[in-house]
């Protein structure tokens, strides 16, 4: 499923938070959005997953405007893993993942065996099959985030939006989570903090600053030392791994 954002603008108060932002994610692509804190990454994603209403511009899912779809319809096409969120009140893991089936349910319809099968399959995919009956609040941060991913997968959508999904996770869980997403072969749009993780997994990157898109391209094209200095104000050098062909960013201390 193709996700297209064209000329989105957002005005909060008298401040222009997003300025004519346009991005396109082709079917099956893994696209990252990078940029410093406050550059508007999360705001852009919130426009896409319909928590914020853009003041101008449209978001198209497979060429169909989001504003013309019901929330139910869009939740059947697009699932979201937001920044690490703590659920209040104590649910079991299974109950939380089951809520991912909401968009496929009618008002009074109850959950049936098919839903439970999907829940099991998704928990299996994130490696938490044994945790179905555990209480969510007793899980570690990494496990909780994987539950959130399982819930998004249970929506059975073709498009996945991730808002800094690896925040607060240690490196093992970061890689584990990104691997699960990558191997699910969905159309993915992710806001990313860590440039090395972004370079490893993304097919394409968009860079944001002050609510504008300031660059785009493959990780190798976009992430040059000059561009990183321009975007983040830090000095870094780029090393290309001979085996994988992936680039890594090495930051220099004391060079801010």
């Amino acid at each position: 499923m193709e996700l297209q954002v064209s000329d989105i603008e957002i005005v909060l108060g008298d401040q222009l938070v997003l300025q004519r932002v346009s991005i396109i994610v082709k079917p099956g692509e893994f696209v990252g959005i990078i940029g410093p804190n406050g550059s508007g990454k999360s705001t852009l994603l919130k426009c896409i997953y319909r928590v914020l209403l853009p003041s101008r511009g449209v978001v198209l899912l497979s060429g169909y405007p989001l504003s013309a779809m019901s929330l139910r319809q869009s939740a059947q096409c697009m699932a979201v893993v937001a920044q690490h969120n703590v659920a209040s009140f104590d649910f079991t893991v299974q109950e939380i993942v089951l809520l991912g089936r909401s968009a496929h349910k009618k008002m009074m319809e109850r959950d049936h065996a098919g839903d439970y099968a999907i829940v099991r399959e998704c928990l299996d995919k994130v490696g938490l099959a044994a945790f179905a009956d555990r209480s969510f609040s007793t899980l570690s941060g990494g496990e909780q985030q994987r539950v959130m991913l399982a819930r998004a997968l249970a929506q059975k959508t073709s498009c996945l939006i991730l808002d800094e999904p690896t925040n607060h996770l240690d490196i093992k869980y970061q890689l584990q989570l990104m691997d699960i997403v990558k191997t699910s072969h969905l159309t993915v749009l992710a806001a990313m903090h860590d440039l090395n993780i972004a370079a490893m997994y993304c097919d394409k990157l968009f860079a944001m600053e002050d609510g504008k898109i300031v660059g785009s391209g493959t990780p190798e094209q976009l992430l040059t030392p000059d561009f990183i200095r321009m975007l983040y104000g830090v000095t870094a050098k780029i090393v290309k791994d001979a085996d994988t062909g992936k680039i890594s960013i090495i930051y220099q201390a004391g060079a801010v």
Binding site: V51, A75, N85, V86, F91, R134, S137
Partner: protein, 354 residues
């Protein structure tokens, strides 16, 4: 923490069944208890008279016994069940709507609205035209109008978020409390002031079959309705943003649920005054034992609430010789320590764990 045995599915089904049996037994045992001693055989004879398939026993029961059993005890027990059910379920729903474990059915100024209605009726004679239970009717009006006012004001200029609803309820609650205090202050009617105080403590003594034919269906209907809404209630605890990404805008649901709750609470207030603590206590106890999923929580709350209030009322009637303990007093005295005991014994975070 491993899930306790109580949280697994077949066990909660069984628990529901056991609670249903407990409810029926409570009604049958409760009706034999009271300040006047009546033989159990006579009690059941009176009750069975009301079923067409039963042939009335020739041992004629006295008129007084009939009145006590069928016109005083039975409606009172049924009312206790309805009130307990209504308050417990509305408490659970309010906690979901507000996403706040401290919410109870009377939050959002509903209690202040009801008190203002009652104070106006008792001290100013408002609504005497409504007949014998004009105080209840005014309290119902106060509660219901208050809930609607909170909804309308909090919904003004954007969608009503839980915090906005809560603050609006507090503000309007303070205004109507101030009015109540003012009325009490300028009134010279000592007897009336005492009646307001007594009324605020809640009592099931006014039960009668006529009002029950309305209240019981309303409460039962609301319980069934909320049970059918368990997925939305679960989503409410996830928060508005998550709910949107899962395909549901909670705004309209929240409003609809508040109106249904206000209706139920209004009827409860009409029939029994203010009975505090049940609506806060029962949902937490059930949640501690059986988990948060509303698909289990709603029916179990209804049953536990009903059984709890039946026994609380029976105790109120028999614990002091020749007089009745106000039910609100008893519930706080017995319920609060039990609640604290459960809280310290089990890992339960009220959702405040981060």
């Amino acid at each position: 923490m491993k899930p306790t045995l109580l949280q697994s599915k077949p066990v909660s089904l069984l628990t529901g069944l056991l609670l249903l049996i407990a409810l029926i037994l409570s009604l049958l045992i409760g009706v034999t208890m009271g300040s006047v001693h009546i033989a159990a055989a006579d009690v059941y004879n009176v009750i069975l008279q009301h079923f067409s398939w039963y042939e009335v026993q020739p041992l004629g029961v006295e008129r007084a016994v009939y009145d006590i059993v069928w016109l005083l005890r039975m409606p009172r027990l049924v009312l206790a069940a309805a009130v307990g059910m209504g308050l417990a379920v509305c408490g659970a729903v309010m906690q979901a709507i507000m996403k706040n474990p401290l919410a109870d059915p009377y939050i959002l100024g509903i209690s202040s609205g009801a008190s203002l209605g009652a104070a106006l009726a008792i001290l100013c004679g408002v609504g005497t035209a409504f007949g014998a239970n004009y105080i209840g009717i005014c309290a119902f009006g106060g509660a219901f109008i208050m809930a609607l006012a909170v909804l309308v004001i909090a919904g003004h200029g954007g969608e009503s978020h839980p915090v906005k609803l809560l603050l609006t309820g507090m503000a309007l609650g303070s205004v109507s409390s101030a009015f109540s205090s003012f009325i009490v202050y300028i009134s010279n009617d000592i007897d009336g002031i005492q009646r307001v105080t007594y009324w605020l403590m809640g009592s099931l003594a006014g039960a009668n079959w006529k009002s029950l034919t309305v209240i019981f269906p309303v409460v039962l209907g609301a319980v069934m309705f909320f049970w059918s809404q368990s997925r939305i209630l679960n989503l409410m605890l996830m928060g508005d943003e998550t709910a949107v990404t899962l395909g549901t805008n909670l705004h309209h649901y929240r409003q609809a649920y508040l109106v249904v709750c206000a209706l139920v609470v209004g009827f409860v207030v009409y029939a029994a005054g203010m009975i505090g603590f049940v609506g806060l206590l029962i949902p937490h106890i059930v949640r501690m034992l059986f988990g948060t999923d509303h698909n289990k929580l709603i029916p179990l709350c209804a049953l536990v609430g009903a059984v709890f209030l039946i026994w609380a009322d029976v105790l109120c009637r028999i614990i002091l010789p020749k007089t009745e303990l106000p039910i609100g007093v008893l519930i706080a005295l017995v319920g609060a320590p039990f609640f604290v005991y459960l809280m310290t014994r089990k890992v339960y975070h009220f959702g405040s764990r981060t």
